[in-house]
């Protein structure tokens, strides 16, 4: 079932959710908003980042003045059916990300086309993003109290919030006012009653209503306090008065009356502080459209109220319920008082209640009278007529022909022999046609037999007792046969449906899971889902960087428009289904489901039915199973890839070891020989002629260059192999700069060097070899690019845990188009001095990046280029001097 995934939303959340405080009142006008604003101002004064996202002042001056001075986020204005409406700008709040946000009236219904249909869902998203929320709520809007409120006040409650919101609240503040005070305020017109202060609203504020609502408010708050007390005791390991192992289960059917049953169960579960399950048993009977709708409504109500939803298939409701109850450790089962006629119960071996009580054992059974006073939403019971016109015609024709034949041969056959032949036909019809046709055939045959063949003929009257008995027998037997064969048939259809589901899962498992390549498997899976559900689908996968790919997988047959893609992206981040047939982002054309496996969300499956129909329970069930399987396939592939990546890494490490042990040796040894040889040659011969000295100078420079090239290449190889692991040690930045200058001293001999090290930098933790080498390379680069006698400056400063090392020169600067390319490998700017490898700066970039920092090039306004290394570092401004004294 789609509904049955309460845990999935929390898997990917690493953010600490925000705190929720609800200002609860018995009805409008008690001063909830006022109290909320007062609290918010306190928080603001205490230095907290408070923002008002949506506060309704209803033009009250006192409230308005409290709101002034609070930072506000402008509302989102939109036009719906010619009316300008304003809603909270959810995205603006999320991107502003304050510590605390004020959102008035949690029960508000958003305008169609908003991300969530209800404002409380916006609040949930804010909480999930780690933002604390203050909100207001009237007790009548609480889902589990809505029917009681309606009974008390006779005013229907349209806007409701699930009780789970209250349970999520970290704090509930009751804003209380006596009914008399409220009525006084009402009389002074200090209370806003909505745009039309109609009679219903005035009725609502009758003293006895207010007293009842007030009591309810206080009770809700008391329950919450009680629960948090018990939670607290549990956390601290104090033994308390809670009952262990209580669990309620309510059996849900297709009647709209079940909503009161569901609310009843919720209240009892709340009072017992235990979990509850809502179960629907899918039997062989075909559901009408109205029944499917009210079943869906019942299930979603139960889910909203926090039930775990289970749907199971079974022929016998009582046995199936008990099986589920035992599997889920249920202690109490709640069922509605039977509305079936007495004979129905007789036929099935007792009513549901009787059967349950007989077999329940230790499980308690509650039988609750459903409340029928609610809004009558049930459509007039449709007479179920199944069967194609063709079936009706065939059945009619055969019956007619048979009767005609009997009529001709009735003298020879005798009316007694005709009856079994009619029965035979009813049996055959039962095997061929749907139930309605069979029952019609059975009735027709009985009546025709009576009318045409039993004396007195051509009347429905029957002459003697014998014939009457014969007729009644015939009538009952033919109906029974018709019923039984038809039942067999529906069972067979149900069986086929189940088999189709199993086959589909098997097929997907076989085709997709065993496919050698993921793409082929996904394509096979996609085609299968399309055929089974008569839909077009799109698969959007996760990229290696764990964000959602902007492109759909090629196996998709549905092109996602930007709007649909944004829904898919929401599903991907939240891990919850959204779009059509759900209650989030309902305006979208497709249903979007997260491909959620145990280790994460691997993408989103978007399904859009070709014909404009919704999915029935079994189809949604199937879709759920297929989605799960597909996610499992993606997860499997992810692990296979991770495994082979690990193998590649191991191989590359072996290669790298070989490379870094033997290649340097092979390159550097002959160079050492060459250098030593040349130097000793020079020393031994002591060339006198200037030409020989010139040549010697050239050779020696070439050797120097070769040494630099080899070192650079080896450094570059290390960077590319990704094996550089910075070794962090406490270092003195000034010393580091001096060491780099000393190393580069011959290249820098023509330049002035300035050091500008911030006095507050005493010690930082970094890899001295990597950063020292980077500074050295930058100095060499600066020396190469700036004219002699100009200054090269090294600056260092530390700010907010980041060390900035800047090397500035007074050369011509860097052409703008080259600013980003200077760090590319082997990139050499036009006019580069000979002898460079084009690797120096890219080595700087590689080393700095390995260190978690960045390096950028820029031109200074006063002329010359500068290179900025920006590193995250741990620093010790005190320099540990005190421990040494």
């Amino acid at each position: 079932m789609l509904e049955n995934n309460p845990d999935k939303a929390t898997i990917n959340q690493s953010i600490v959710p925000g705190r929720l405080k609800i200002f609860l009142g018995m009805c409008a006008g008690v001063g909830k908003t006022y109290a909320m604003l007062q609290d918010a101002r306190e928080e603001l004064k205490a230095g907290k980042d408070v923002v008002a996202a949506l506060v309704e002042t209803h033009g009250r001056k006192e409230t308005q003045s409290l709101l002034e001075g609070l930072p506000q986020i402008p509302r989102l204005k939109s036009r719906y059916r010619g009316i300008d409406l304003e809603e909270m700008d959810l995205d603006a709040v999320l991107s502003r990300h304050p510590k605390l946000v004020l959102v008035d009236e949690a029960a508000h219904t958003n305008i169609p086309g908003s991300r969530h249909p209800k404002r409380y869902q916006d609040i949930e998203e804010l909480l999930a993003a780690g933002i604390s929320v203050y909100t207001t709520l009237n007790v009548q809007h609480l889902e589990s109290r809505a029917d009681v409120v309606r009974q008390i006040t006779a005013v229907p409650v349209n806007e409701t919030v699930p009780d789970s919101l209250l349970e999520k609240a970290d704090e509930i503040q009751v804003v209380d006012l006596t009914p008399d005070d409220l009525r006084e305020r009402l009389a002074e017109k200090k209370v806003y009653l909505g745009p039309i202060a109609d009679i219903a609203a005035v009725n609502f504020f009758k003293a006895e209503n207010l007293t009842a609502l007030r009591e309810m408010t206080l009770r809700v708050a008391a329950e919450h306090t009680d629960k948090s007390l018990r939670d607290e005791m549990r956390v601290r390991g104090i033994n308390g008065p809670w009952k262990a192992g209580e669990r309620l289960m309510v059996s849900i059917g297709t009647s709209p009356y079940y909503d009161s049953l569901i609310r009843w169960t919720r209240r009892v579960a709340g009072a017992l502080d235990c979990g509850w399950i809502a179960v629907y048993v899918e039997t062989d009977t075909q559901l009408t459209k109205a029944e499917t709708d009210s079943l869906t409504a019942n299930l979603s109500l139960a889910r909203q109220l926090g039930a775990e939803i289970i749907t199971v298939a079974g022929h016998n409701v009582a046995q199936t319920l008990l099986r589920v109850a035992r599997q889920s450790n249920v202690s109490q089962i709640v069922i509605g008082k039977s509305q079936e006629p007495w004979w129905h119960a007789m036929m099935h071996g007792g009513s549901l209640a009787q059967q349950l009580i007989r077999q329940s054992g230790l499980i308690d059974i509650y039988i609750v009278q459903p409340d029928k006073s609610g809004p009558e939403t049930k459509a007039p019971q449709q007479i179920k007529i199944s069967g194609t016109p063709q079936a009706w015609l065939t059945a009619g024709a055969v019956t007619g022909l048979l009767t005609l034949a009997f009529f001709i041969f009735s003298k020879n056959l005798g009316y007694g022999a005709i009856a079994p032949i009619y029965l035979l036909w009813v049996v055959i019809a039962g095997l061929r046609f749907p139930r309605s046709v069979v029952l019609a055939v059975a009735a027709c045959c009985a009546l025709l037999w009576n009318f045409l063949f039993i004396t007195p003929k051509y009347t429905f009257a029957i002459g003697n007792v014998h014939d009457a008995t014969m007729f009644i027998m015939f009538f009952v037997v033919s109906l029974a046969i018709g019923q039984l064969t038809a039942k067999l048939k529906t069972k067979e259809i149900a069986e086929q449906k189940r088999e189709r589901r199993t086959a589909a899962l098997y097929e997907l498992a076989k085709q997709a899971a065993l496919a050698p390549e993921l793409d082929a498997g996904l394509t096979a899976g996609a085609r299968l889902i399309e055929n089974l559900l008569n839909s077009r689908i799109a698969i959007t996968l996760r990229k290696p960087d764990r964000t959602l790919s902007p492109e759909s997988h090629p196996a998709s047959s549905l092109a996602l428009e930007p709007k649909e893609y944004s829904v898919a992206a929401w599903v991907f981040t939240r891990g919850l289904p959204a779009g059509r047939f759900t209650d989030t982002l309902t305006g979208s054309a497709a249903l979007h489901l997260p491909l959620q496996a145990r280790t994460g969300i691997y993408g989103v499956l978007s399904v859009q039915p070709i014909r404009d129909k919704s999915f029935d329970i079994s189809e949604r069930d199937l879709l759920e199973a297929l989605t799960g399987l597909m996610a499992a396939i993606l997860e499997k592939d992810h692990f296979i890839q991770a495994f082979s990546r690990a193998e590649v890494i191991e191989a590359s490490e072996q290669l790298h070891r070989a490379l870094f042990d033997s290649v340097p040796h092979e390159l550097k040894t002959p160079l050492a020989a060459l250098k030593t040889g040349f130097e000793s040659l020079l020393y031994l011969t002591k060339p006198e002629s200037s030409k020989a000295r010139e040549a010697a100078e050239e050779v020696s420079q070439a050797l120097q260059r070769m040494q630099i090239v080899i070192n650079n290449l080896l450094d570059m190889t290390r960077i590319q192999a990704g094996v550089i692991r910075p070794k962090l040690e406490w270092a003195d930045v000034e010393d580091l700069a001096h060491s780099a200058i000393e190393l580069a001293s011959s290249a820098l001999s023509q330049h002035k060097i300035k050091l500008d090290i911030g006095a507050d930098i005493l010690a930082v933790k970094l890899d001295q070899a990597l950063i020292g080498q980077s500074l050295y390379n930058l100095l060499i680069n600066a020396a190469n690019w700036s004219p002699p006698q100009t200054a090269i400056t090294i600056k260092a400063e530390i700010k907010e845990g980041r060390l900035k090392l800047v090397v500035q020169d007074e050369g011509p600067g860097i052409p703008v188009q080259d600013l980003t390319r200077v760090f590319d490998k082997f990139y050499r700017a036009a006019g580069a001095p000979t002898g460079g490898t084009g690797l120096g700066l890219s080595i700087v970039s590689g080393f700095v990046r390995a260190h978690g920092g960045t390096v950028t090039a820029a031109n200074r306004p006063e002329g010359g280029a500068e290179f900025i290394i920006d590193l995250p570092v741990e620093s010790s401004p005190t320099g540990n001097t005190e421990i040494l004294a």
């Binding site: 060459l674 030593t676 406490w730 000034e734 010393d735 001096h738 000393e742 060097i753 010690a763 070899a769």
Partner: protein, 226 residues
């Protein structure tokens, strides 16, 4: 004239061996060659060299092991000559008893300077009462330090650090060695002590920022070069 210094070269590269022999002979050394670690040990025992040049990449034994085995019975100064340039390798060699470390390809004058520096320790620098080099003057008896003839006041620890570096002038002293000598073995892993005191010491004695007397060997230690 002093008797000729004896140098032993242990390296498996024939070209390097021959060229080093050429250079060292020219600079007054009597040179012996060994191709393997085993042969090197034998030569060291028989010839009693004044200095050993050791390559770490030997065919029969890991260079670090060879170094440790040599140090079990022999105190001759050892200069490691290797292509391996990573800091860890250098620190390991120095802590296993090598006196200094130079990477291939090297500059010949640099090599000669290092050889001289490590041999000086074998001489009796510790018994000398006065140190003079460049602008630096140290009187070990009166604990006086002068730079450019101006007296510099050093704390006890700063003085101990400078004396240690001066007594091993030109030779790298690892962090561990400095810490052990100045603070004792308990402080061996507290290189931040050293860093702070070295900064103070430098502020007092360094005169030319482009050519500092105390050089930092990144990740290894310090060296006094004048």
């Amino acid at each position: 004239m002093k008797p000729r210094n004896k140098a032993l070269i242990i390296d498996d590269e024939k070209a390097i061996r021959r060229l080093l022999t050429l250079v060292l002979t020219e600079h007054g050394y009597q040179v012996f060659e060994a191709e393997t670690a085993e042969e090197g040990m034998n030569q060291a025992a028989q010839r009693k060299p004044d200095v050993i040049l050791l390559d770490l990449g030997l065919p029969d034994m890991d260079g670090q092991t060879a170094l440790r085995r040599l140090r079990e019975w022999c105190t001759v100064p050892v200069l490691v000559v290797s292509v391996r340039s990573d800091t860890d390798e250098k620190v390991k060699a120095l802590n296993s008893g090598a006196d200094d470390y130079i990477t291939k390809p090297f500059d010949v004058p640099e090599l000669l300077a290092r050889l001289q520096a490590i041999q000086r320790r074998a001489g009796d620098t510790e018994k000398e009462s006065v140190f003079t080099a460049g602008p630096l003057f140290i009187d070990y008896e009166s604990r006086t330090v002068k730079v450019n003839n101006k007296v510099v006041n050093l704390s006890v620890i700063e003085y101990s650090l400078l004396r240690l570096l001066a007594q091993h002038q030109g030779k790298v002293i690892t962090h561990k060695q400095l810490l052990r000598d100045v603070w004792g073995t308990v402080a061996e892993d507290r290189s931040q002590y050293l860093r702070v005191y070295m900064t103070h010491l430098r502020k007092k004695i360094e005169t030319t920022p482009r050519k500092r007397m105390i050089r930092t060997e990144v990740g290894i230690g310090y060296r006094l070069v004048i």
